[in-house]
Symmetry: C2
Amino acid sequence: MKKHNFSAGPCILPKEVLIKAADAVMNFNNDNLSLIEISHRSKPFVEVMEKAQILVKELLDVPEGYSVLFLQGGASLEFLMVPYNLMRDGGKAAYTNTGTWAKKAIAEAKKFGDTIVVGNSADKNYNYIPKGYKIPEDADYFHCTSNNTIYGTQMKEFPYCPTLMVCDMSSDIFSRKIEISHFDLIYAGAQKNMGPAGTTLVIVKDEILGKTGRNIPTMLDYTTHIKKESMFNTPPVFAVYVSMLTLQWLKALGGVEQIEKMNQEKSDLLYNEIDRNPLFTGTAKKEDRSNMNVCFLLTDENKKDAFDKLWNETGIRGIKGHRSVGGYRASIYNSMPIESIQVLIDVMQKLEE
Amino acid sequence: MKKHNFSAGPCILPKEVLIKAADAVMNFNNDNLSLIEISHRSKPFVEVMEKAQILVKELLDVPEGYSVLFLQGGASLEFLMVPYNLMRDGGKAAYTNTGTWAKKAIAEAKKFGDTIVVGNSADKNYNYIPKGYKIPEDADYFHCTSNNTIYGTQMKEFPYCPTLMVCDMSSDIFSRKIEISHFDLIYAGAQKNMGPAGTTLVIVKDEILGKTGRNIPTMLDYTTHIKKESMFNTPPVFAVYVSMLTLQWLKALGGVEQIEKMNQEKSDLLYNEIDRNPLFTGTAKKEDRSNMNVCFLLTDENKKDAFDKLWNETGIRGIKGHRSVGGYRASIYNSMPIESIQVLIDVMQKLEE
């Protein structure tokens, strides 16, 4: 049975990417060696790393003066690398608290120094994006989370920022056009729109680094990885390669501009059904609804078993909501075809009948 | 043409592991979903993580009181996690300097506090393992590197250690029997004997942690990963799965005891040829020769082109020595079949004729 994979991450990847990835595990570059058993210093792999970096720059229109890195450790390691690299000893940072991941980022920053929360949507279980807050000019940097997978909210606009602007874009990078020059540091775990778990994309403005006076451990210092072009130590070869394949797929599709249109169409389709169908209700404030993670509840909990049976029978997977919100969460990242969303809508309509 | 992959790492993996890994990228667990697009919290993947941990415990006979972790960041991240977790504020650590990787570990420790080098083979370009040194009792821990890939040396015995014993076993773990109880913390990048690049194995005695008084960032604190059973954040799913497959392969083969015999046989074969053939000479002191990385030089540099042509024609790859030593390095890890070593020996004998 064909599966419709609505997982929040690791999540669906394009079929052609999976086929090429499996091929490379057996025979990479027609050299009768596996991608995962060749030296990362070999020419074929160095080319993969270079291509991946160039694709990021092309797809996101990254200006001069920024470096593109592929690191390890996920966004969770970035939570501490950001203050290590950007918060001066005795300095201060400003954060928005828009959910679970933002809270974790804040907790790490607090280990390094004064960390203030300038916008917070905890009062309504993070079902909206805080707005109208002021970022203090004397903060070393401001940190926000562009998309909140668990709560299904997304920043549609970014605030005026009088200091360095840092953003965790793990769950919506490459899904929409972003003006990179508005940001000083962007990071994103690969496992939503870019590739498999195991690598983290970092886009950083070179000139902001080296100014904190901190004695940073080598592996946690962004300048280490810039100097060595993400090859300071053995990179996660497979994750970088599959990310490169996914970015190639995105480019061939028409790039970020094209996928943004498709994502809008897909999410409109699903939100329209949620709003139309009396059996369902969305959890996020309408203006802040995420195009990546669509969270919704049954209006009548007694219909739960019937609904679960219906979607399960059609091959839908990974649609259970996070325990913090309950209900359902349809994660509809870049690689999710509109056909799978139609299958879900059909099920929702079948339940209504 | 069949290739004989002598790369130092990432390096050769068993053929059956590659086949299973490629299959899982297309269809994991017969669920018509890829291994790399399912949730890491799903039952099938949680089972992979558990199996991998159990296999490590079985194969290395890990006693009670130790935790087995699969982390990210390679040995290079461990270089700083070790002092972060084990060196008291104002404390002291003792290291041996046996080559490039040991030096990097020492450099990180120095960022955290007093770091003394108790054994050092830099005087002879690291061609031997220092012995007879004394580890100070007041050191918070002692750190050594069990095998030095670049220089082809290996610790055959481990010193008496009056403090915590930490060992970087990246390049020879699972190659020979090790008495785990002699160690308090062992770490190893996966990409030699365990799997693809992208995960790091850590075996740590639980009771040694939480005693430094340091404010450790969450992701760098071993206790975080122990509590969450290596699932604090999204693990490198593919690297952990392929590691599990390789450990299953090793268990089916007869475990560490059996592979140790095979490794001894393989390295004896090659070292005997190096010692017998007047065209070659080994670089490491005989008693310290590594069973994993066999480093050798031509006695007559004029024969270089002829030798390079010969081995290249037979499908041998990855045999060039590291620039710090020059000459040749045959990395003959667990998965390297004796037949490939015979091919190399045949080439060496052909050159002699």
